[in-house]
Each structure stands twice: as C-alpha cells, then as structure tokens.
C-alpha cells in the first residue's frame, strides 16, 4: 500500500474521504460533512472529484487542533451506500492490526 506520505498530487480515481489521527489521543478519524471529525467511517464526507477532494483536504488541514496528518484515502461505496475502506492500509486503520495483540499471560 503506497504510504500517503508519498502522495505528491491530489488525483482521485473514485470515491474518497479525508482521514487523519485525532490530536489528543491519536485515534483514526474521518472528516465529516459537518466540518468535524468522526471515528466512524460511515459519517465521513465522500468526495468524488479532485476539486472537492482538495477543498475537503484544505479544510481538514486548517483544523490543526482537531486532528493531524490529514490525507485523502480511497473508499468503496456499496449499492446500499455502505462505505468501506478502499485498500488494505485503510482497512487495517479502520479495523485494527491483523495479527492479534499479545495475549495476556
């Protein structure tokens, strides 16, 4: 999964969201249409073209106290409107590590 840290240009190929990490605790959050942040992907604002993506990202970057490191991430929107992460990286960010955390002894 190409790290978004290597994203040079904003060019989207399908539905996308802006995601970041909440400043005070670092959890994964998504930019909402209400100009806020939510930990729930289903509440994320979906953008479908580069201009909207740029605007959403610019607004997110401006909210520096709320969340850090915002970037555009692909999503898949099902016929029922359900939003799912668009790649493995984002899937892992949403659902957690794929390995199980060390069991308590």
């Amino acid at each position: 999964m190409t790290s978004p840290l290597e994203q040079k240009k904003i060019k989207i190929a399908g539905p996308s969201v802006v995601t970041a990490n909440r400043t005070w605790d670092g959890i994964v959050v998504y930019r909402t249409a209400a100009k806020s942040w939510s930990a729930d992907l289903s509440e994320a604002a979906i953008v479908r073209n580069s201009d909207d993506a740029k605007a959403l990202l610019a607004e997110s970057v401006a909210d520096d106290v709320g969340a850090i490191g915002p970037y555009i991430a692909p999503v898949q929107v099902g016929v029922d409107g359900k939003v799912e992460p668009g790649n493995l990286r984002e899937q892992i960010r949403r659902t957690g590590v794929t390995i199980g955390q060390p069991a308590q002894v």
């Binding site: 999964m1 190409t2 790290s3 959890i27 892992i92």
Partner: protein, 551 residues
C-alpha cells in the same frame, strides 16, 4: 548497571517538564503540528497508523529491574498491556495518547528512563553488545565508552539538527553482536601493540533504500581521542551532508559519493584542529564512568554444578540450554538469552505481566539486570549455572522459554503495515506464519543457525538486507509483494543479501522460504555447513533454480 548522577537526573526531569508544557501548548492550539512535530520527535513520539507511538531509550540495552517494571507499568497504564522491543535496543509502545505522554515520561523519569533522541535528526541511542561486560574474551566492557558517547552527544547543540538521524554501535568482541557494520559509525574496541585501548572506527554503514556496509576509516584511534574523532566525523557530515534530499541525507551517501579516502582526509583535517582540545578525555573521566558501573559480587562456583548435571536428563531442558545459554566470563555463571519469538506470536513483543515477572526473575537469578539485544530478544547476563533449571521452569511458565535462539524461527521483523505509517506491506503475519511452518524443534535444529529478517518497506527497520534470508514487503498494483534475498549477514562478516528472483505474493512467502530451506538442506556439503556458508559457496543461482523452477 550504571548509576546516573545528579546531572543526569536533573536533565531527565527538566525534559519531562519541558515536554509537558509543549504538549499542553499543542493541545490548546498554541503550537501547530508543524511547530510541535520536531519537539515530539525529539521525545520519541511518532504518529503511526492507529495512534501515537512512543519509543523509549534503553542505552546500550541495559535495564535494571525497577526500570523494566516501570516499562511494564507504562504498558499497563498508558498503553494496551504490551511493548515491542526494537532492533536498536529500544522499546516502543503503540497505543499511547498524546495527552497522557507527559505522565508516562514522568513515571519513567523516576527510574532514570527517558525518550530523548530516540527519533529525529540527531544522535540516536548508542547501542552495544547485549553481552557487554560478561562475554568471555572481551577487550573491556564497551558500555563504558557507550556511556561516554551518550553523555557527550545527549542534547549536544551541534548534533541536534543533523542532516539525518545518526546511529553509533560499539562492540568489544571479535564476534560482533552489535551489528556495527550497518551503523553510521561502528566502533570496535581493540588494543594496539602497546596494549593501549582504542578503537577501529568504521563509518558509512546503513540499510534503508541504499544499503552500505561500513568501511574502516581509521584502524586505531586511542580511547582518549575517541570523542574528538567522532566529533570530527560529525562535523564533516554536518557540513557536507545533504539536507535537500531526505533519501540522500545519511552519512553513508556522503561517504559513498566522496569516497572513503577523501572523506577520511576531510575528517583527519578537522580532527587535527580539535584532537588536543577539551575533547581529549582524561583518564579520570573514564574511571569515573567505570566506577558508576556496578558489577555483581560473583561467587566461586563449580563449572558443572549438580543441579545442572541432573537437569541434563530432561531433553526439553537440554534443548533450551543448548540453544539459549552461553558461556560467561566467570566460571559457574552463564548468559541466558530469552527468546521473545514464541511460535505464532509477534517477534519482539512482551506483555506487562511478562516484563514484571522477568524483573522478578532477574532479581532472583541475575543480580537485578536485564539486557536487550538488537535481535529483539532479552538476556539475563549473570545467571549461576546451578540456577538454570529453576530459571528455565519459571521462564517456561511465562511463555519465555522457546528454544529457538538463532534458529529459523528467531525472526527479526519490523512492525510493518499492521502499525507503521511508512510501511507498504505487513511483516508480522509473515513472521508468524514462518514460525508455524518451522515450529518443529527437530527440524529447526536440523536446519541450524539461520536468520530471517523481515521489513515492511524499503526503510529496512527489520534489517532485511542483512538477514541470511531477507524478506522485503513492497506494494505493487495495490497488492503486497515480497522480495526475497539470501546471503546477508550483520556480524563481523557483514554482507548484503542478493535477490533470488521476482517478488511473490503474501500467501506464497512461506512456501518460497520452505523451498529455499529445502534447497539448502539438499545443497549443503555436511550438516555443519550453515545456510549462510552454503550460499557463500554456491551463490544465488542454485537456490533460484530450485525455488522458481516450478513457479
């Protein structure tokens, strides 16, 4: 153990107060993330996929039991109950909250632990041999010199904004357990013909996207001159190192582009200006540091105590002993490596309960001392041989007696795409599957010493270039693909591995590694010929043919 003085304690405490204020200003919006980022990095705080990651320094890999308990406390109170030991003798916590970090740092400061310079473009934690001070045949304890360099470089203003991060490792043994040849500066303690202590100095090693094995820049630098010589190297790097391109900013690129001869001339010229300055170390300074290292009051013990003789009848104990117990410089004692590589579990992870219990065992059996090795295992450096059976039983109950040290399941792996924001592919699940494939101890023993190193991106935190088998995860068309190299090594014969063929998919990696191992078993001349020696003798081709013939 090393006892910090008042200056150290004050420095660490002041740093906590300073960072508490910085965090407060960040959370209030007084500091932007751009302004804050460099400050948090200087305190070991990264942003990863799911949360902040907090990297704590363990200078030269030495921990006291109260320090290990403090790490367990941080894991339990501020994180998710575990920590991850890294390839540079540090520990990382993966789920820490920024708002709670100052409290975590304050709790660690009480036992003299900090996170200064565990990230950022400065001098990182000075690492050393995890067997320092106890390994037979060692020139002297390399931690004395590690500590000298740590003191000199910590918060040194000239080295706080280097072109890129800078790592030093020191060994004092012929067998290099500190991987000095893959460091920016590698130091090997030696004696000259007059019997004086000094260093062979190597420079320009490193992995990442452009790997290099370090080259010897000077065959002997007297101990009293080592600070000035290191400073000369750093000054040349600071002056000429590239700041315009992060991928070309490490000293290895500078050494490569200038050539070692020109680079060494530059260093020599700089050194002549400063070698007779206040950087020249008085014997008293070294003696003061030496005096702050305490060593156990060893007993006079037999080479082969009855307890050990009796326990030898138990094949499970013997399997562990042969694998995990190494000779000590003092008769009757052993160095015990504790595998953090249980079958099917993430390499290098330890739970808070394991850390606490291990601290108790270290108090009981190892004079209160624990070591961290770059292979992501721990060690108890002073265990009486008579105590080995009891220690083994206790470790086994904790899940810490897997007899796989230096075997194929003793895998180094970076956090990979499960945690890391830079990663392109997962590392830990590959390691887990490989440990399951080679879980049979007889098979692992039949294979013998074999190091598999896995990185989830080209930054190479899992040291894949120097694994006997290296696995590098990359991304291709949105999928995880793994490139496999063989023939790398990180010891005194350090070498970079060579690709054996095209990358393979996530689900195919373990099959391919099995094929590589089967090829080795068929190709080796005798059971004693290690994998790395067979590769050296035959090269990549025979392995490539066997692995890819049916693919």
């Amino acid at each position: 153990m090393y006892a910090y003085d008042e200056i150290d304690r004050t420095l660490v405490n002041e740093r906590v107060s300073e960072f508490r204020d910085q965090v407060k200003r960040r959370l209030s919006g007084e500091l932007t993330e751009d302004e804050f980022k460099i400050l948090r990095l200087q305190n070991g705080v990264y942003l990863q996929l799911h949360a902040y990651m907090f990297r704590v320094a363990i200078p030269y890999g030495t921990l006291a039991t109260n320090q290990l308990r403090a790490l367990a406390h941080v894991a339990r109170k501020y994180d998710r109950g575990y920590g991850h030991f890294t390839t540079r003798q540090n520990i990382q916590f993966n789920w820490i909250k920024l708002a709670e970090l100052p409290d975590a740092l304050a709790d660690l400061a009480k036992v003299g632990i900090h996170a200064m310079q565990t990230s950022g473009n400065n001098m990182r934690n000075v690492t050393s041999d995890q067997w320092a001070g106890v390994a037979p045949g060692e020139i002297e304890d390399p931690r004395i010199w590690s500590e000298l360099i740590r003191q000199h470089t910590t918060l040194h203003p000239e080295f706080s904004f280097l072109p890129r991060k800078f790592k030093i490792a020191i060994t004092a043994s012929d067998h290099d357990r500190a991987a000095i040849k893959i460091h920016d500066i590698g130091l090997k303690l030696i004696k000259n013909e007059k019997g004086e202590t000094g260093f062979e100095v190597l420079v320009g090693g490193g992995l990442g996207r452009t790997p290099f094995i370090a080259k010897t820049i000077k065959h002997f630098v007297h101990g009293r001159d080592i600070l000035s010589y290191i400073e000369a190297i750093l000054r040349v790097y600071n002056q000429y190192g590239r700041r315009d391109n992060i991928y070309k900013a490490r000293i290895k690129i500078l050494v490569h582009e200038l050539g070692i001869e020109k680079f060494s001339r530059e260093v020599e010229e700089e050194w002549q200006h400063i070698r007779n300055s206040s950087l020249q170390i008085d014997d008293e300074v070294i003696e003061d540091i030496r005096s702050r290292f305490t060593y156990p009051a060893y007993e006079k013990l037999p080479h082969m105590p009855d307890e050990l003789r009796q326990a030898a009848a138990d094949p499970e104990f013997e399997a562990w002993r042969k694998n995990s117990v190494a000779p000590h410089k003092v008769q009757g004692y052993s160095i015990v490596t504790i595998s953090l590589k249980p079958i099917g579990k993430p390499p290098g992870d330890a739970t808070a309960e394991q850390m606490d219990a291990l601290a108790d065992l270290a108090d009981k059996y190892s004079f209160g001392e624990i070591r961290v090795g770059h292979e992501q295992n721990l060690a108890l450096p002073h265990v009486a041989k008579r105590d080995l059976p009891a220690l083994w039983k206790a470790l086994d109950k904790l899940g810490l007696a897997t007899p796989n040290v230096n075997l194929i399941t003793d895998i180094i792996a970076c956090p990979g795409l499960d945690y890391c924001s830079l990663a392109n592919a997962r590392s830990i699940p590959i390691a887990q599957e490989l440990t399951r494939r080679f879980a049979n101890h007889e098979l692992a023993n039949l294979i013998g010493r074999l190091h598999i190193n896995i990185s989830g991106c080209i930054n190479a935190c899992g040291h894949h270039h120097v694994g006997h088998i290296g696995i590098l995860g990359v991304e291709k068309n949105g999928e995880e693909v793994y490139q496999i190299t063989i023939g790398g090594r990180a010891d005194e014969g350090a070498a970079l591995g060579n690709l054996i063929g095209p990358g393979v998919k996530f689900d195919e990696v373990a099959d391919v590694i099995e094929d590589v191992v089967e090829a080795y078993l068929a190709l080796r001349e005798r059971p004693e010929e290690l994998f790395i020696d067979t590769v050296k003798r035959l090269g990549v081709e025979p392995f490539k043919e066997r692995v890819y013939a049916t693919r």
